[in-house]
Symmetry: C2
Subunit: 261 residues, 2 copies
């Protein structure tokens, strides 16, 4: 990574937790590598998927900028927050009428901001308990799927290096899109590929980057655990999913090569 | 106005109704003037204050772009709409991950959009009745204030040239800010200057542009009528306002020159 930072580098931006495969980045190590190379390089972290999942002490994290999103902590869509370290000056990219509105013009989304604020409060109540509970459900769901459905592989790390809410599994010989549709008919709402690229039907660049083949990336599902989920929810998914995968595989044109007996 | 359009002009942008003084612009005349000069110049209208107040037939209006805001039609803050005439190509100013999100990146504020949609539906129920009712309340409030409080002047036009919801009056020998504070203690919520510049305590550039002196612009109040207001509300304001103005004037350092008797 150090090799990518040179005199042309203005800013290094890394998600504290990868949105797709849940990898918890060692932001302090990244910060040190970057600052060792050039102290003037700014460090930004997209903390949207980390906020409420891992402890985030901004003083300790010592980045220059950090982004947060309301809906990622179950607040209303349409609002977010940007942490700007004291002394860092940034210019707006959209200008409005008011000199008092320093970074963003227009009327503030007050109900959204209040909802975001409340969501932050709620998600940090029983934070440790929630995280332990989510990690437990994550592991139950992961091992349950890997054990009950063949031709599957977990994407991203295991255990403490992984976000407590993230399960991302590739189902070979399946279309991820088809799985999401059939699961939704059963009241199970998950994303194929990355949620963000799901509408363009292209496999996740993150999965391709970690070495997954096109078809492995294509048949991936991203499942998110929330503090509001229970063991019963996980058991329901484990009950329904194998049959859904079987059905979708039975109509898929891509089949495993038959083993010679 | 024609003199301001030359070969360097890319776009002409005019509010269909002036946000501060309620002037209804003759958008068709403006469009014709601009197109006579140069057919390639794009015409944008900020229709935020016009939507729900005057009939807006986009085909007939024949502008290239128009902006709408949810909270201006009593929908949730944080969402708006941009009308783009078929064939007009515009480039985003912020880019995201998705090729499907053509103009604005990120997760859509779905509840906000649904609320905006509902607000548009509600404000267009009984549209004619609402507009007639608002115009009636506007005229009662305007003449009531001008008749009961001396040293006052209406800003902007009268009657059909004015938005049905807009009352903007200058109170000489008064600080607009002080009036808003004292009125709010009586449950009456209005803006001083323009609402948008009220936090910077500078007089409205619109009022200065129509020839008001600094002190006339400074003592102005913008009062908005909604379809939810009643005659009783107007009577309450007319009951409270004269006393408030009298009190604020009594402590104001700016006094009318005493007449020689």
């Amino acid at each position: 990574m150090s090799a990518h930072v040179d005199k042309e580098t203005l800013i290094v931006s890394i998600a504290a937790i990868n949105h797709e495969i849940g990898t918890i980045q060692d932001m302090k190590a990244i910060r040190d590598i970057v600052r060792d190379k050039d102290e003037a390089v700014l460090i930004h972290t997209d903390a949207c998927d980390a906020f409420g999942r891992i402890p985030l002490d901004m003083k300790n994290l010592d980045v220059d900028l950090a982004s947060f999103s309301s809906h990622k902590v179950y607040g209303p869509k349409g609002v977010g927050a940007l942490y700007v370290r004291e002394g860092i000056k940034i210019e707006p990219i959209i200008y409005g009428q008011l000199s008092t509105q320093k970074l963003w013009p227009g009327v503030e989304n007050v109900p959204g901001i209040m909802g975001f604020s409340k969501a932050v409060e709620v998600i940090h109540r029983n934070f440790r308990e929630n995280v332990l509970n989510m990690s437990d459900l994550r592991d139950r769901l992961t091992s349950g799927i890997l054990n009950s459905v063949d031709h599957t592989m977990l994407n991203g790390p295991l255990g403490d290096e992984r976000a407590p809410d993230n399960v991302n599994i590739s189902f070979l010989y399946c279309e991820g899109e088809a799985l999401t549709v059939e699961l939704s008919l059963n009241g199970i709402y998950v994303s194929s590929g990355s949620a963000c690229t799901s509408r363009v039907l292209e496999p996740s660049h993150v999965l391709l980057a970690i070495g997954r083949r096109y078809e492995e990336a294509h048949g991936s599902l991203l499942m998110k655990i929330t503090p509001f989920h229970t063991i019963a929810d996980i058991e329901y998914v484990l009950d329904v999913l194998p049959g859904v995968v079987k059905r979708i595989r039975s109509i898929s044109p891509i089949k495993p090569v038959k083993e010679v007996r």
